[in-house]
């Protein structure tokens, strides 16, 4: 059994690496939550803090879905403007701050991808080669424990099923597009994903 998210005793407090300070997941959550509550009071410096510590990760999420830097930046801009207007809607009891931000980002990016319709993006590899390495600051928002629990449950699935779940999540594509990408029948893919979700639910609730 993996430790619950509430366990505060699993990670050290801070360690320095060069001049960058890596903080543990709980500290990072607390700092981001505090910043979001200040954003809700229209504190622009707080939004800047949130942006500095989350934009590289969230841009990676957008780019993985949209494969177009311009569109990904448009979505990211929209995300932070939404955070500016709706940070009061963040409920630390319901989700961690990075989860809240990532959910918002994925929903916007996926909606943008759907609005694009059947248009095919020229070159997936091209978008990725334009990538700049992110600074250490972005490691502030890793969700170590939650991710470890999920990865453990994904490992219980058939590897090909787990792969389909991961690809679906990262790319944000429809069943139809995913079945083409994985060269497998639509019905089989749907069955894989649905059975995987049921298995994951059982594992994650255990």
């Amino acid at each position: 059994m993996l430790p619950r998210r509430e366990g505060h005793d699993t990670v050290g407090h801070q360690r320095t690496l060069g001049r960058a300070i890596l903080v543990d997941a709980n500290t990072s959550r607390a700092l981001l939550s505090k910043a979001l509550s200040r954003v809700a009071q229209q504190d622009a410096d707080a939004l800047r803090y949130v942006y500095r510590h989350t934009s590289a990760k969230l841009f990676g999420v957008c780019l993985r879905i949209l494969h177009d830097r311009q569109e990904a930046e448009d979505v990211l801009q929209d995300v932070y403007l939404t955070v500016w207007r709706k940070a009061g809607g963040f409920d630390p009891e319901r989700a961690s701050p990075i989860t809240w931000l990532a959910v918002l980002t994925r929903n916007r990016a996926i909606d943008r991808l759907r609005a694009r319709g059947g248009r095919v993006v020229a070159d997936v590899a091209e978008a990725e080669t334009l990538a700049d390495p992110a600074p250490l600051a972005s490691t502030l928002v890793e969700t170590d424990e939650d991710h470890a629990r999920l990865a453990h449950c994904l490992d219980q699935l058939d590897p090909s099923h787990a792969g389909a779940v991961r690809t679906a999540f990262f790319e944000g594509v429809t069943y139809e597009a995913l079945s083409q990408r994985l060269s497998m029948p639509l019905g089989t893919l749907k069955s894989w994903i649905r059975r995987s979700l049921i298995s994951l639910r059982g594992c994650l609730e255990a």
Binding site: A44, S96, R114, D144, L150, L178, L200
Partner: protein
């Protein structure tokens, strides 16, 4: 919080799978819209969605972090800056940056207009002496409102009554068209149509653009659906703005 397994009536398990499919991102646009409505209307269903959001979203930990361009934060910061009304069309800051230096750059760009066979000079090139600049009221730099980088140069050809738009560095997302607007001071944007991003666009100078006072009008470019704004008013974001400067 309802994290405990639920053994409710038939359909609840299906709903939990549907909620998982929604969070995973495999539903099509119509299905997503239907689920979004149910999240608003049905508390139990919404809880099922939140459950999956908490459990699946940590997968973003496996996505590589990539820096967005350096211009993105200034753009966001500019958009949240306090102002009486969030109205970029009337915000003087949009075009306050169009300075004498930008005009010199415009002059450099004019050389490109005059000698279209030459490769365009790099933007960083030293600006030519101001004395070389054409009459400033015939040139407008249409620049990114945030970074001040020139996106287009607008030149008036009064002899032929034409307005020429020369793109300098105008890029838009795929599937979007650049639409040019003229915004009379205190007035609403008037569409001048979709323009080209790679070659100069010539058009009849809007009526009155040569008359007194019209030089205070702002020219702006927004990104719009292919073919231009369906409503006749700008719907996309402002990619560039600037104006002719009265001498």
């Amino acid at each position: 919080m309802t994290d405990a397994p639920t053994t409710g009536p038939t359909g609840e398990d299906d709903d939990r799978v549907l909620a998982g499919e929604y969070v995973l991102g495999v539903l099509d646009a119509a299905q997503r819209a239907a689920v979004s409505r149910r999240i608003v209307d049905e508390a139990v269903f919404a809880q099922a969605v939140y459950w999956w959001e908490r459990r699946l979203t940590p997968l973003v930990g496996e996505v590589a972090a990539i820096q967005p361009s350096a211009g993105l934060w200034p753009r966001i910061s500019n958009l949240i800056a306090p102002r009486p009304r969030l109205d970029v069309w009337r915000d003087v800051r949009v075009w306050r940056g169009v300075s004498a230096g930008a005009l010199a750059l415009a002059a450099a760009c004019l050389v490109v207009v005059a000698l279209p066979n030459r490769a365009p000079p790099p933007v960083a090139v030293a600006p030519p002496p101001v004395a070389v600049a054409p009459p400033p009221n015939q040139v407008a730099v249409i620049a990114d409102p945030t970074t001040r980088e020139a996106r287009l140069v607008a030149t008036l050809d009064p002899d032929h009554g034409q307005l020429v738009l020369t793109p300098v560095a105008l890029t838009l997302p795929q599937g979007r068209d650049p639409e040019l607007w003229i915004i009379p001071e205190g007035g609403k944007p008037i569409s001048l149509g979709v323009i080209a991003t790679a070659a100069p666009t010539r058009m009849a100078a809007p009526a009155g653009l040569n008359a007194d006072g019209v030089f205070t009008a702002t020219l702006a470019v927004t990104d719009e659906p292919l073919g231009g704004s369906p409503s006749g008013a700008p719907t996309g974001s402002v990619r560039a703005a600037g104006r002719f400067i009265r001498t």
